[in-house]
């Protein structure tokens, strides 16, 4: 209970409260800008938090993460332009509703389910936390190492077109993390005698380059293709709120779908939104109305978009396995603030976990108020051209990579990884395993040698401890899944 009180007190301190409002504003604005989402906003924000205390820093990051989706839904309803890819599910019914003069109804329905989704996310986290805590308390260094390995292989398996391409990215990330002093023996590795490399390659530069700069390059290359014709805000807000409460079973089902999809690493809110929408079409009465401006379409899709955030955050903060790109950045934020991502967060910084949960819910509520009251301003933002947006992101990223260590080489590394990641994405290598490799590499290395130094049986410690063995089997399962599947299919065809 003390930790809950500490978390609540931290949020309502003047600086945190201000950052909560600022983060919500940034999240809504970035959500409205087409092509940009929570991942880009968090990548740009992370360097700004480098001098902050850990609590305000996470209030800012989580409020940006939580709120970017609603801004995107608003533009999907009013302009037929999803702010981010997952918001495409909202426009299927949202835009036809707006064209039929029910824009306010759609916006109100979306806003209400956003708050319900935020509340569900917070409840999910609060409910699962004691269970995860019980499990984590049984973990030692061997399990920490195995978890880092599992996180890397799981993300490699689900994020890239081919599992081997994902593993290549993860391998490069781990190798990059080995540059500089070894955490236990203090020996300098691969420094070429330069002082800059003694501290290693900083993950902030890699994160900014891989996730933000590569998108800026794409924005420049594709040029401005923004803003369709807006629809005026008409209809009734009351009707939208009423529609949500008339469809509570649909809301609950969407929340449960989102929870399952959110926990699966790499699946993300886009899958959650569309699976929930498809399930609504299959199970609701009068399915022919979907796609023609049925409020149930907005409710099903948007509930899942917001409710999956709980499932997304849970494995990230408890096990160090990110459920999405934005969560990989959150892991980086933990490292930046001196917290080892994974089970150590729950063990040693429980108040931070509660802070994240409460921020997630409060930011959802704030974002609804902010987005609805600023709809005229947000409408203008949808017309922003890439020539205006791109330099803003570049400036923030360049400053961000410089200020963390005051090295100009970090800016150069960011630019190199921006270009590399652009080509990697183009050829089906997602940069997330690379980012995760550089974040989780030191955790894995530290866990490996701490476990070995405590072990009487050498490397057998990883198979003689039951939790470690289970995680090892899961890791092998994830990597060799395609092979197992092929063998199973062959057997099935032989039998038939």
């Amino acid at each position: 209970m003390d930790q809950v009180a500490v978390a609540l007190a931290s949020i309502f301190q003047l600086d945190s409260a201000f950052l909560l409002i600022l983060g919500t504003f940034i999240g809504v604005v970035v959500g409205v800008l087409p092509g940009l989402g929570a991942t880009h906003a968090m990548a740009m924000i992370i360097p700004l938090t480098w001098k902050m205390d850990i609590s305000p820093a996470f209030v800012l990051l989580i409020s940006v993460y939580a709120t970017s989706k609603f801004g995107g839904s608003l533009t999907a309803i009013l302009f037929n332009i999803p702010g981010d890819n997952p918001n495409a599910v909202t426009l299927i019914d949202g835009y036809p509703m707006a064209k039929a003069g029910e824009a306010r109804t759609a916006v109100a329905a979306s806003a209400t389910v956003s708050i319900i989704g935020g509340l569900f996310s917070a409840i999910t986290l609060l409910a699962f936390l004691p269970v995860m805590y019980w499990i984590i308390m049984r973990f030692g260094p061997a399990e920490f190492f195995m978890l880092a390995l599992f996180g890397l292989s799981a993300i490699s398996a689900v994020s890239s077109q081919s599992i081997v391409k994902g593993l290549i990215g993860g391998g490069i990330g781990i190798l990059l993390s080995t540059i500089g002093y070894h955490p236990l023996v203090g020996q300098a590795r691969y420094t070429f005698g330069t002082m800059f490399l003694e501290d290693g390659i900083h993950m902030v530069s890699v994160i900014l380059g891989a996730l933000a700069i590569s998108e800026v390059l794409k924005l420049w290359m594709e040029g401005s293709s923004i803003a369709g014709e807006g629809v005026p805000l008409s209809g009734s807000y009351k009707a939208g709120i009423k529609a949500v409460f008339e469809n509570i079973p649909l809301v609950i089902r969407s929340c449960l779908i989102a929870l399952v999809v959110g926990i699966a690493p790499g699946a993300g809110s886009m899958v959650a939104g569309f699976v929930s929408y498809a399930s609504a079409v299959k199970t609701c009465r009068n399915p022919e109305n979907f796609g023609k401006g049925d409020v149930r379409g907005v409710i099903a899709g948007d509930t899942a978009l917001h409710a999956c955030q709980g499932g997304d955050v849970l494995p990230t903060i408890t096990l160090g396995i990110p459920g999405s790109n934005a969560m990989a950045i959150l892991l980086g934020a933990f490292v930046l603030h001196g917290v080892t991502p994974g089970p150590q967060v729950v063990k040693l910084h429980a108040e931070l976990v509660y802070l994240i949960i409460f921020t997630l819910f409060i930011a959802h509520c704030l974002s609804v108020l902010m987005a609805v009251s600023m709809s005229t301003f947000l409408e203008k933002l949808t017309k922003a051209r890439s020539e205006i947006i791109a330099p803003i992101i570049i400036v923030l990223c360049l400053i961000g990579s410089y200020v963390v260590r005051e090295c100009w080489q970090d800016m150069m590394i960011m630019a190199i990884f921006g270009i590399l990641s652009y080509y990697m994405k183009k050829h089906g290598y997602h940069p997330i395993p690379l980012v995760l490799g550089i974040v989780l590499g030191p955790v894995a290395e530290f866990g490996l040698f701490t476990a070995l130094s405590l072990s009487d049986n050498g490397i057998f410690i990883f198979i003689t401890r039951i939790p470690s063995l289970i995680i090892l089997i899961c890791t092998l399962g994830v990597i060799f899944w395609p092979l197992l599947e092929r063998i199973y299919k062959k057997k099935q065809s032989l039998l038939s």
């Binding site: 299927i92 590795r189 205006i388 080509y423």
Partner: protein, 198 residues
């Protein structure tokens, strides 16, 4: 993007080969890097060498296999066409997205040529040099104005608003409020120091 599935069972066209060769931009550096770290790991103590040795070996083998496929596309080795869980998620997503978004929304995308890519890379490198030579307080001006003009956006009103809002953020918030370090770049710093301005 060309799916590797399509390339496996037929001869590759010139365009597909060209596309495949583009992978050399990052696969070759990755191969050299992982091989170097693997070989270099032998000179360190056991604790310091284990992770780079094994990670380097695995990555060098995988990137080497891919390199063989890029150089000899007829070879089956390094094709890496197996989907893993990613492919299954993608299939589910594609099925649902296609079914639900059909005729509703078409994402506007255009073919990106090499000259588009080159132009963007030059802009990025230009931004880096602006910051390196003039620091972030002055470099911000060059980046915003320079890249906008480079991309043909010359409307003074939006540019001015952009500049003012960025200076509020960079100078007032980052530099003054959050105490970001002073940085005037390789060119400006000696001049300002010579004039006793910093």
């Amino acid at each position: 993007m060309i799916d590797s599935h399509e390339t496996s069972d037929k001869r590759l066209s010139e365009q597909e080969k060209k596309y495949l060769r583009e992978e050399l931009w990052f696969i070759l550096p990755f191969f050299i890097f992982s091989l170097y770290l693997f070989l270099g790991s032998f000179e360190y103590r056991f604790e310091a060498s284990t992770v780079p040795k094994y990670a380097g070996l695995v990555t060098a083998v995988l990137t080497g296999m891919r390199l063989i496929y890029i150089l000899f596309p007829g070879a089956r080795i390094g094709e890496f066409k197996e989907d893993g869980l990613a492919g299954e998620f993608d299939e589910i997503q594609d099925e649902i997205v296609e079914g639900t978004l059909k005729d509703k929304y078409q994402k506007q995308t255009r073919q990106i040529s090499f000259s588009d890519e080159k132009k963007a890379f030059i802009a990025l490198i230009g931004c880096f040099f602006a910051f390196l030579l003039f620091g972030y307080l002055v470099g911000t001006f060059f980046v915003i104005v320079g890249t906008s003009y480079y991309y043909g956006f010359t409307k003074k009103g939006p540019l001015l608003i952009n500049l003012i809002s960025m200076y509020i953020l960079v100078y007032a918030v980052l530099f003054k409020l959050l105490g970001a370090p002073e940085h005037f770049g390789l060119v400006l710093e000696p001049i300002l120091k010579g004039l006793d301005l910093i």
